[in-house]
């Protein structure tokens, strides 16, 4: 209990004092995770919508694979990205290893299947409703996909939140490809892992509390946006 009390006191102190190191870690965490969500959204949302609306041989197998990839172990992704980006790897010339870019790549790989699989489910349900009308209007497939994404946009906000949650809380992949280098690639989760390994449980807990507050705040902000936008625009 003493540890928890100390953690809360320390967390409160760090936040109130706007500790420079803490702010830097939070900023990098948000930058990496939001960038990964953005890239994954650009890839995963249209791909999920495509899977939901287009029938082709092997579609069932692709759906199963995408669903299975939602459970990708972060350390495995980290290892694969590490191997690809290391000097001996095929993408070593990019010199991305131990940079935030490598962390964004790893998180993008982790969350793209999540966004694609959840998008497919949402769009497929909506497409069941729209399909006959779209067929009647002879809507081209690409217009159909973007129309479905647009009309499902509020539900898809929740999908993006799920992706962001996975990214911001992830540690296994980013610690491998980022290296947890102070002032360069240290994010909330890797800092927590480091402080825990050093035995500084109070600081680790404090960082954990800040991480939770960030996750809660982002969720609350998005859900509030979704609720107000839905009620003021389209039922």
């Amino acid at each position: 209990m003493q540890d928890f009390a100390e953690a809360f006191r320390l967390a409160f102190g760090l936040v109130v004092a706007m500790d420079a190191d803490l702010v830097e870690i939070i900023a990098l965490s948000l930058r990496v995770s939001l960038a990964a969500v953005l890239v994954a959204a650009v890839l995963g949302l249209p791909f999920g919508a495509l899977l939901a609306t287009v029938r082709f041989p092997g579609r069932g197998a692709v759906v199963i694979i995408v669903n299975a990839l939602m459970g990708l172990p972060p350390v495995v992704v980290g290892l694969l990205v590490y191997m690809a980006l290391s000097n001996a790897g095929p993408l070593g010339f990019l010199q991305f290893l131990y940079t935030p870019t490598a962390m964004i790549i790893a998180q993008t790989i982790l969350i793209t299947p999540i966004l694609a699989a959840l998008t497919r489910q949402i769009i497929e349900d909506m497409n069941l409703e729209y399909a006959e009308q779209f067929a009647s209007l002879s809507v081209p497939w690409h217009t159909r996909i973007f129309a479905l994404i647009r009309d499902a946009r509020y539900a898809l906000l929740t999908v993006l939140l799920a992706g962001f949650g996975r990214a911001i809380a992830e540690v296994g992949a980013v610690i491998i490809v980022g290296g947890n280098i102070a002032h360069l690639t240290r994010v909330m989760t890797t800092a927590i892992a480091l402080e825990t390994s050093k035995g500084d449980l109070a600081l680790a807990l404090a960082l954990g509390i800040v991480l939770l507050v960030i996750a809660l705040s982002v969720n609350a902000a998005v859900m509030s946006l979704r609720t107000s936008a839905e009620s003021s625009s389209h039922a």
Binding site: E132, S138, D151, S233
Partner: protein
Amino acid sequence: MLDQPVVKPATQLPLAVAGLCFNAGSARLINDLDLVLTGHGVTVVMGPNGAGKSLLVRLLHGLIEPQSGSIQWNGRNNGAATRQSQAMVFQKPVLLRRSVAANVDFVLALKAGSNQARRNELLQQANLLDKASQPARALSGGEQQRLALARALASDPEVIFLDEPTASLDPSSTQAIETVMAQASARGVKVILVTHDVGQARRLADDVVFIHRGTVVEHSGADTFFNQPASKVARDYLAGKLVI
């Protein structure tokens, strides 16, 4: 004036259906159906529940494929190309989760590019111009169906199918829909209307196709059909008797 009755040239008609069959499992729902429709006006498709009326218009519109038989629009096989010049209003309107105006804009953008004047004209015709910015799904049932009809007309179709568009609507909403239908017909749009409402059929029909057990029992002019129906099943139906 919103609607100048300029009759459009018919490039889709005549419609010729021959030997049309559609099965669902072991049940034959459309049974060796033959039908020819020529000229403009309103063709009303009537028949008891389960006769195959809705299925027939879906087949004619190319939304589903028959197991056998042929559907030809002015000599062209039914398909995506013929559907381009057609539109359909479903019994339960499927509106996009957008504003009233955006629903019409979606179709205008597909067919001819955005056109605010045309959109406003269509909404005015459907008496929905004052609700243009409202969410489409927040409209009443009658308003939603009027919007669905306005949206269908936005594609400037030569043929429009309406599958019981006024089922469960009140008389005022029904009248509003019928007015828009009549205006479209006066402009030369071929209207193919499925309805159970004998009164509505009497008001609108130029000719009537009566279907029973998946086949056309009778196809005749409206006056002939309502005054001297040739088949016993049609006479029973018009007399309000139970037709199974």
